[in-house]
Amino acid sequence: MKTLLRSVAVAAVLVATLATSACSTPGVGGSTDTASGSSAPSGSITVFAAASLQRTFTELGARYEQEHPGTTVTFSFAGSSDLVSQIRNGAPADVFASADEANMAKLSASASEDDGGGDGDGDLAAGWPRAFATNTLEIAVAPGNPQHVTGLRSLTSSDVQLVTCAAPVPCGAATAAVERAAGVTLHPVSEEQSVTDVLGKVESGQADAGLVYVTDVRASDGGVDGVPFAESADAVNTYPIGVLRESTNPVLAASFATFVRSDAGRKVLADAGFGAP
C-alpha cells in the first residue's frame, strides 16, 4: 500500500512536471510580433487540440505566451473524437480545435443530447466554431519512392503494400472520398485507427505506401516522401476551432482562438503545410 501511494505521488509529480515543462517551452523562432495592448488577457487556459496539430499548436502556444506575458496556455493533444468525448464528459477545456467538422459538430447546438448542458446552445460559446486551416491527403512512400508511385491508380497494384485509415476515422472518410473521385478501389493490407499509425507503418518500412495528410509528410522530416495526387482536392479537410461555453477564462480563450486565426497564426500553420480555410 505504501509503495502504491508513493508511486501514485511520483506519477502525480511526473504529470505536473510534464505539464509545466510543456507550457514553459521557450518561444520557437525569433519573430517577436508586438503585442496589441487592449484589455489584456491573463491567467491560464487548457486547449484541447487534434493530434495532428501538436507541433503547430505547441509553437503557437509558446508565441502567444511570449506576446502576452502573464498567460499560460496548456495543451491536451489526442484524436478529435477522443477529445470530444472527454469534453462531453466534463473535462475542463477552454478551447477545442478539431481535425474535422464532423467532430466539432458534435459539440455545437442540437448535437449535444445527453450531456444535460442546456438545450440549444451546445457546448460552444456563441460565435464559434470558426475554420482556421485545411488539410489534404498525400501519398506517403519510402524516401526516394523506390516503387515509383505516381498517383492513386498505382496504389492498386498488388506489389504495393498499402495502408490507409479505417473508414470511421476522419482520414478514412477522406480516403473514401478520393477513391470515389478517382474511380478506383483500393485494397489496403491494413486499415489503421489513426493517421499517425498509417505514417508509422510507412516510416518503419512495414508498408510501401499510405494515405496521410500533407502536414504528416512535412512533419516526418524526411522519414517519408510525399506524392501529391489531383483527386486530393475532392477531400479537403477543414479544421475548426471553438471556445467552450464552460470555459473559466473566456477572455483568454477567445484571445488565443483569435490568435490562431490571425496572420501570425496562419503563417505557422502554413509553414507546417496546412492550407488556408
Binding site: V169, D197, Q206, A207
Partner: protein, 263 residues
Amino acid sequence: MPPRRTPVPWWLPAPAVVGGLFVVVPVLAMVGRVDWSSFVALVTAPASTTALGLSLGTAAAATGVSFVLGYPLAVLFARSTSRWVGVLRALVLLPLVLPPVVGGLALLAAFGRLGVLGAFLDAHGLRIAFTTTAVVVAQVFVSMPFLVSSIEGALRTGGDRAERVAATLGAGPTRTFLTVTTPRVLPGITAGLVLCGARALGEFGATLTFAGSLQGVTRTLPLEVYLQREVDPDTAVALALVLVVVALVVIGTTTLRTRPVVA
C-alpha cells in the same frame, strides 16, 4: 485438511473492500451503459463476430505457443543455480512492464519487413507483416511472461525433492519431467495458461503497432472496440461487454478447479 482460517488484522477489510470496489464498479458502470435494445444486433454484426472469432483463435494459438516455449524456460529458470539467471529472467519478463506499444516497436525492429529477422524471413518468402501470424506473434510477446513467471513460482514453491527422489529411483530426466514435475506443478501451469490467455485476448497496443488492423485478418476484438468507439460508443460498450464475459468465463472455469493455487 488445512486450518479453516488464519486471523487477519481487524483493519484489513477496509482497504480490501475499497480495492475490490475500485475494480468492480467501473465494469458494472459500463454494463449499465449497454443499450440492451440493440445489444444483440450490435454484437452479432459481421464485423463483431469476425473480430471475436479472430480474437479467440489468435489468443488460443498464442497461449499454445507460449506454453511450448515458456514452460521449458520456466523450468530452466527455477532449476538453474547460475547467478546470471536473475538477469535473464528480468530480460524475459520485460514485456510485463513494457508499454505494449513499445513492445510493438520492438517487434517491428525484429520481425518487421526491414527488421533484423524480418528481412531474412522476407527474403525467403515468409512475410509476417499484416498477417494473422503477426497478431499471434504480438500476443505471445506480451503474454508469455505471465505464463513463465506463474509456472516458475509454482516450481520454486514446490521445490525439487520429488525430482531428486525420482532420480535416485532410476528415472531419467525426461521421465521425471513428464511424470513427476509436470503433474506436481499442474495448478501453476493452469494458472499460467489462464493469465497468458487472458492477456493475449486483451492485447491491443502491440497488435496495433506491429500487426495493423484489417477486418478478418488482424482486427481483433479490442481493436474493433477501439475503432467502433470513434463512431458509436454504444457498439464499443456492447463489444467490450462480450470481451468481459469471455474473460470471466475463462478465468471462472479454471479458478474454480484450481482454487487453492489461484485464490
